[in-house]
Symmetry: C2
Subunit: 348 residues, 2 copies
Amino acid sequence: MARPTVHDIARHANVSLATVDRVLNERPGVRAKTIERVQEAVSALGYMRDLHAANLARQRLYRIVFAVPSIRSKFMEQLEAEIHRAQVNQLAERCRIDIVHLPSTDTHQLVTELARLEVESIDGLAIMAPETPRLRDQIIHLRQAGVAVVPIVSNLPNSGCAHFVGINNVGAGRTAALLLGRFAGTATGTVAVIAGSMAQHDHAERRFGFDLVMHEQFPGLKVLPTIECWDRAELVDLRAREVLARVPDLAGIYSVGAGVSGLAAALADRNDRRRLAVVVHELTAISNDALRRGLFDAVIAQDIGHIVRSAVRVLLASKEGRALDPAQERIRTEIFVKENLPGDPGHI
Amino acid sequence: MARPTVHDIARHANVSLATVDRVLNERPGVRAKTIERVQEAVSALGYMRDLHAANLARQRLYRIVFAVPSIRSKFMEQLEAEIHRAQVNQLAERCRIDIVHLPSTDTHQLVTELARLEVESIDGLAIMAPETPRLRDQIIHLRQAGVAVVPIVSNLPNSGCAHFVGINNVGAGRTAALLLGRFAGTATGTVAVIAGSMAQHDHAERRFGFDLVMHEQFPGLKVLPTIECWDRAELVDLRAREVLARVPDLAGIYSVGAGVSGLAAALADRNDRRRLAVVVHELTAISNDALRRGLFDAVIAQDIGHIVRSAVRVLLASKEGRALDPAQERIRTEIFVKENLPGDPGHI
DNA sequence: GCAGTCTTGATTGACGTACCTCAAGGTTTG
DNA sequence: CAAACCTTGAGGTACGTCAATCAAGACTGC
């Protein structure tokens, strides 16, 4: 018993091929009763449209744009690398992917840049940007023009996008707090938090979640005000050394953003023997190495490749009116410690 | 500039369509020089065969068999659920997936069951089974007959399979030790280990990794001999209660295998206030709930959906001679704590 | 009952690749 | 130098769906 085709449906429903086609592609000109008869035949025979034949015939080349900040960081490098990988893979699947760089400071120019996209030729937009009212309006405008939009990494809660591809940053902060609190090995002490800036949505959310759990579960640990270092490693280095020198009962450090190489350097240089719990974000070559060397205790991460692939799937599914598997699209808040780093040798 | 097609290749290489076809599909009857010319044209134009058209024309229906133990457990239920999900999704991609149940105790009959597969009609086999010499021979025989074979969840190191889809179980045990040791909050004490049976490869490997790290990093924690409970919840319950009652300085419990509902029940019933670090394997409804309730502290898991999808990709790629993206196929050893459980409400 | 619209059938030609046949050249071998 | 073989060209059909056409029958309202 081979797969049923449209011909089988036509025969089973006693209609012509043309009618089956009209029903399947929701074209007008079919009586409600006939539609019903065709749909019955479809479910009776268990028909599924052959994606290969459909895509081939449709001759549709989807175009997806990834709009990402132009900041240079290890994380952004990884993100772009994954987008490039998707470009190559998706090319075989009739989907062209482009990258657009958005200014990271000037939010006005960001929207201007976005407005420059040729709406007509774009099917989907995956965007990583801080939400502003003007950006929200621009995104609503894009969606009205038929562009599927999905925020990635950092959510845009007010822009009315059905889906967000990224982790729950409040949850990530909560997770960081739990790990830091339990790894610290002391009920009392002081905890320092280093972030890029509290103006960044995701950083603020992480800090928020972090505070919640610290307060609930580790009331003996006092959390210092956020040290803002604008994701710059040399600043992180400097400020981390200050904290290490000046806070005698330091029990842990939580790094919310980028620039962790500065933190690793500061930690490597210290000569006291205090037990310190260090939790940072994003698994990069630097944090990987610092985990191995015992400088960091835990890394909270998101699978960037998964984010990119998921964004593509979500956008294509949206354009094609397909449903998607929620479980497959859920981006997990991953925890890495020294012993479960990916790419370990000796994979038995 | 649209995608180049075989016609473009033919024109560019100054050969006929038939010749291009012969080269692309590695059919005989083409001079080496001509092959070279065609391949040059392919790379010059950046040609990529249109998978949709190719699959359509090839009219190939791949058949993949998942051979899994017939034991009933939450983990196996999840595994089968994911295989069923893949069945539905892959049907649209011209790939039929079947499940074969293998006897879990009689290794002789297991091989007999495997030998019953009609080699001719099968393209790929994903198998989860303990390795025995007879099984190894049977797998080598299958591979010689042209069946792509990939072990899943539990590796078959001696069967010569190029790829294993699953986590590094030694690493998983190491990870469990690190978490348990650091969560315990005490440098000295006793740790109990509950497993299905040390005859199970993956359980033994986890225990091995666990012992390594406990010995290296937490020498003050004494690890008791493995309590074998055959993955049966009621036995786990019983033995866990014994341990809780009889070991006064109990600092942690590591559950290597299944039957964790018994452990959760035993822990929920205890009335002492000792700080206890509990680490278990596999994220199921039960372990999820126990994490939330604070009965367990950490769960080591593998993404079962990822394993199934990866196995399918690996097998199909093997049959089609395609390369695959190692990063996408790497199964991670995931850590879950109370705060990073997937499917959280309030996904901001 | 007639013009007009709505519904359906029949048919056709893509889409890009796979795979087959037949025949025409070219090259080697004895 | 002819028979045998190797290489290549030309052309066709098929895969399952999409999309469009034209024609005809079935309704509607007036």
